[in-house]
């Protein structure tokens, strides 16, 4: 059974894929799935202590969602990342005391500033959070070992300590990340995407509405999946991949040529549902509001797959958000 059907996302449509070198993004289309706060009404307020991020929901009516592993990087302060998803009721503020510091030797607390940079954590690092113990551990330095491993052997300008921003601020990486953002484009009615590296599925992301996707797509495609792909390429740990293009028959007229190309795109697209059939959900665990925040309308579950996992949110028994790293 398809993972979409299994998780009751079977009303999501697969659209025309976008492929650039090793990365393929298959847009998922659909209507707004639930009633949640507008993404711009969620505000990062500050870090109130090391390992403690504070967010505010300025929406008057709806609960807000903090996407999985949201990262905030700011000037002259310790950068932080959320250990999981977060929920906030309307017009409330909440501390998340199990957040992580991601800059080993930097002091200072983050403030709400226009200069803050946001991203979602690279997918390999997100996998550290797939166990309950790690997620809920309140040691602010819990990710430093993971960051050091992740940065190891990368040809960066600065290195040696667990500063994730050494990667994002590196001039070469920065240019490559911006290129990712330019190469992949959100399409009309897009609410999510399946992301593949060299034909292997790496993650499925679904947001509650096209507006949400439009707001967060860059943080995912650039900051999370793009960052991971750049790292793997720099380490030579990914097979070079170029989508092979079909031979065009001689003496073909323009209309037939167009037909042939369109058939080819459908053909490579059909590969995606097939390959996703292999993804199995091994466990689904509901999560205490004490960890992720109170909500009267939203329920969160941790999912575990063979090699990965993630989080899913439901509202009125309907799944509205999914973030799975595979």
């Amino acid at each position: 059974m398809s993972i979409f059907k299994l998780l009751k996302f079977d009303d999501v449509d697969i659209s025309n894929l976008q492929n650039v070198d090793e990365m393929t993004v298959v847009p998922l289309l659909g209507a707004t799935r639930g009633e949640v706060a507008k993404p711009q009404n969620l505000v990062f307020s500050k870090t109130s202590n090391y390992g403690e991020m504070v967010f505010e929901n300025q929406d008057e009516d709806c609960d807000a969602i903090i996407p999985s592993n949201l990262m905030v990087r700011g000037k002259d302060a310790q950068d932080h990342v959320m250990s999981h998803i977060g929920l906030l009721e309307p017009q409330t503020s909440r501390r998340f005391p199990d957040s992580c510091c991601i800059e080993e030797s930097q002091g200072g607390y983050l403030e709400n500033s226009e200069k803050n940079e946001f991203d979602i954590l690279p997918i390999e690092l997100r996998k550290c959070f797939l166990t309950k113990d790690f997620r809920e551990n309140r040691q602010y330095d819990k990710l430093w070992g993971g960051i050091l491993d992740w940065l190891k052997d990368l040809p960066l300008k600065y290195k040696g300590v667990a500063h994730l921003r050494y990667f994002y601020d590196d001039p070469v990486v920065k240019t490559q990340l911006e290129t990712f953002a330019a190469e992949f484009e959100p399409v009309e009615d897009q609410i999510g995407a399946v992301i593949l590296f060299s034909g292997i599925p790496m993650g499925i992301e679904i947001m509650p509405s096209p507006e949400y996707w439009d707001y967060y797509w860059k943080l995912l495609i650039r900051g999370s999946y793009g960052a991971e792909l750049i790292r793997l390429k720099q380490l030579g740990q990914i097979q070079t991949f170029k989508q092979s293009l079909p031979r065009i028959n001689d003496h073909m007229d323009l209309d037939h040529m167009k037909e042939q190309m369109e058939d080819y795109i459908v053909q490579i697209q059909n590969y995606v549902p097939d390959v996703l059939k292999k993804v199995r959900i091994e466990s689904q665990l509901s999560v205490s509001p004490q960890i992720i925040g109170e909500s009267k309308t939203l329920q969160v579950e941790y999912l575990k797959t063979q090699d990965g996992g993630g989080e899913m949110i439901t509202q009125n028994q309907k799944p509205i958000y999914l973030s799975l790293v595979l």
């Binding site: 911006e178 953002a181 484009e185 009309e188």
Partner: protein
């Protein structure tokens, strides 16, 4: 002199604002290198090239470079037969006059250390600044002194130096005559006004009525005399009136300020929504006087904000101005227009690549058809058409489909206006193009890239095929510049001759 010319068209297109791929500082560093290389390759060609259409900022920076590196006798001797001795100064003056006054002042302020440039203060720059400001009629000076008081003060102080300025402000006539009076003998008043000296002591009546009105407005603001303030704000610049209103916290409705003060045509367009919100009388706008880029910008601003007023008039103006703008003839061509999402551009300059592409389209003569790639059509409620739709940047980049569609008209030239980022699937355009070229299809492919890249010549502008060099055109006005610069790389001496002819035609 350097042996090889490796300039980039960016030298004349640069504005210090981030694009999609590079931030402003990275671009500035790259362009600065280009300017230095170009200057060391051929100083004459460097200065002549500023006669081509380009951004005010680039021309200001290039003039700064010329003025801070005085010409040597050897360099001067190279041009003595064909160009006058002071041709550089003539070009700088000509370019200043062609800019808006505000931009021209900014370019002069670069010499006083503005916009991160080093200060330059030699005899040539002093004369340039003072003559540009004071070699004018009293009426012109009267308006400018009120509109640009603080910028002019900085420039005059820089050009005169502390000692000379002190003597002039102390009333020393011969010093005034030597430095300023030689350009305009009445302008003692203007200097006093700029440096906040009591101008009431001087004769203002007929010569500088605006300055007199400004002084009265300032005094009534200080005295919190709202009646006098209202009567004095009539036809003074909106920014000046607003400044006094806010500084002295005067209880005057915004609608009064908008109704009575004077707005430039650009301000009228930019402030349209604010004026409407304040309840002031709507200012009648003659859209046909605006630049095509400004028109597209205001059109899309209104469309995206569901403002329907004037849309018909703006559309008519776009048609009118487009006809007037059609000056570049590449030959009969079909245009492939990339309207995919990445053409939306950066947050800093939202829609810039898309609006630039639309403006480029309006400068091209001989366009036989336009094929849009990507994009989303949205309905726009205009009076003249119940079912009118416009395209906005959205969706994937199917450039290859555009190519197949365009070829149905069997065009001689195909112009692709795109940032060059293809994702459905990457390389598909080139794959189809290569096949067509090796078959019986005969056409010439031109790629115009509306996203500025400071290092386009180093390959940062995306190619859509290996044998098609992208031409970066970040402003539709620079299309001609881009074509000339491209030719300059291959035939610098031919282009130099053309530019000398241009100099002789433009500057007599």
């Amino acid at each position: 002199m350097k042996k090889e010319l490796s300039i980039d068209s960016g030298v004349l297109q640069f504005v210090p604002k981030g694009a999609y791929y590079e931030d402003a500082e990275e671009q500035k560093a790259a362009v600065n290198l280009c300017w230095k290389d170009f200057l060391s390759y051929d100083r004459t060609l460097f200065s002549l090239s500023t006669l081509l259409p380009g951004s005010g900022y680039s021309k200001g920076a290039m003039s700064h470079m010329l003025l801070s590196n005085p010409i040597t006798n050897k360099e001067r001797s190279l041009t003595v037969d064909v160009l006058p001795l002071d041709f550089e100064t003539q070009i700088i003056k000509y370019n200043l006059k062609k800019e808006s006054f505000s931009r021209a002042l900014k370019n002069l302020l670069m010499l006083a250390g503005g916009e991160g440039f080093s200060r330059v203060n030699n005899s040539k720059t002093r004369k340039l600044i003072l003559s540009f400001i004071f070699e004018r009629t009293n009426q012109e000076l009267d308006n400018l002194a009120v509109n640009y008081k603080s910028k002019l003060r900085t420039l005059v102080a820089h050009a005169l130096g502390k000692q000379t300025l002190f003597m002039i402000l102390s009333g020393h006539g011969p010093t005034f005559d030597k430095w300023v009076g030689c350009y305009n003998s009445d302008c003692y008043t203007v200097i006093f006004h700029l440096f906040n000296r009591p101008t009431v002591l001087l004769k203002l009546e007929n010569k500088f009525p605006k300055i007199l009105q400004y002084e009265k407005l300032k005094n009534s603001a200080k005295d919190q005399d709202l009646v006098k303030f209202k009567s004095n704000m009539d036809k003074l610049p909106m920014r000046t009136v607003m400044g006094f209103r806010n500084t002295y916290k005067l209880n005057i409705d915004l609608s009064d300020v908008y109704d009575k003060s004077k707005m430039s045509s650009k301000e009228t367009l930019q402030m349209e929504s604010a004026v409407k919100k304040s309840g002031a009388k709507k200012k009648e706008i003659d859209y046909t006087k605006y630049d095509i880029y400004e028109l597209w910008k205001v059109f899309y601003f209104k469309v995206l904000n569901n403002e329907v007023d004037d849309l018909d008039r703006i559309m008519s103006a776009i048609d009118f101005v487009s006809v007037r703008n059609q000056t570049i003839d590449i030959g009969p061509a079909t245009v492939i227009f990339d309207a995919s999402r990445s053409m939306e551009g950066s947050v800093e300059r939202k829609f810039q690549p898309f609006l630039t592409s639309l403006s480029i389209l309006s400068t091209l003569k001989n366009v036989q058809g336009v094929v849009y790639v990507g994009g989303k059509y949205i309905k726009v409620p205009v009076e003249s058409n119940d079912d009118f739709k416009v395209i906005i940047p959205q969706n994937n980049t199917y450039l290859w489909k555009g190519l197949l569609e365009a070829l149905k008209n069997k065009p001689k030239n195909i112009i692709v206006i795109s940032d060059g980022y293809e994702n459905s699937v990457k390389g598909m355009f080139e794959h189809v193009y290569d096949h067509l070229k090796s078959s019986d299809f005969d056409f010439n492919l031109i790629h115009l890239n509306p996203v500025f890249s400071a290092s386009a010549s180093m390959g940062s502008a995306r190619r859509i095929t290996k044998d098609t060099k992208p031409l970066p055109v970040s402003d539709y006005k620079y299309l001609e510049t881009e074509l000339m610069m491209n030719q300059m790389l291959e035939q610098p001496s031919v282009v130099k001759k053309q530019l000398i002819q241009r100099f002789q035609k433009l500057i007599k």
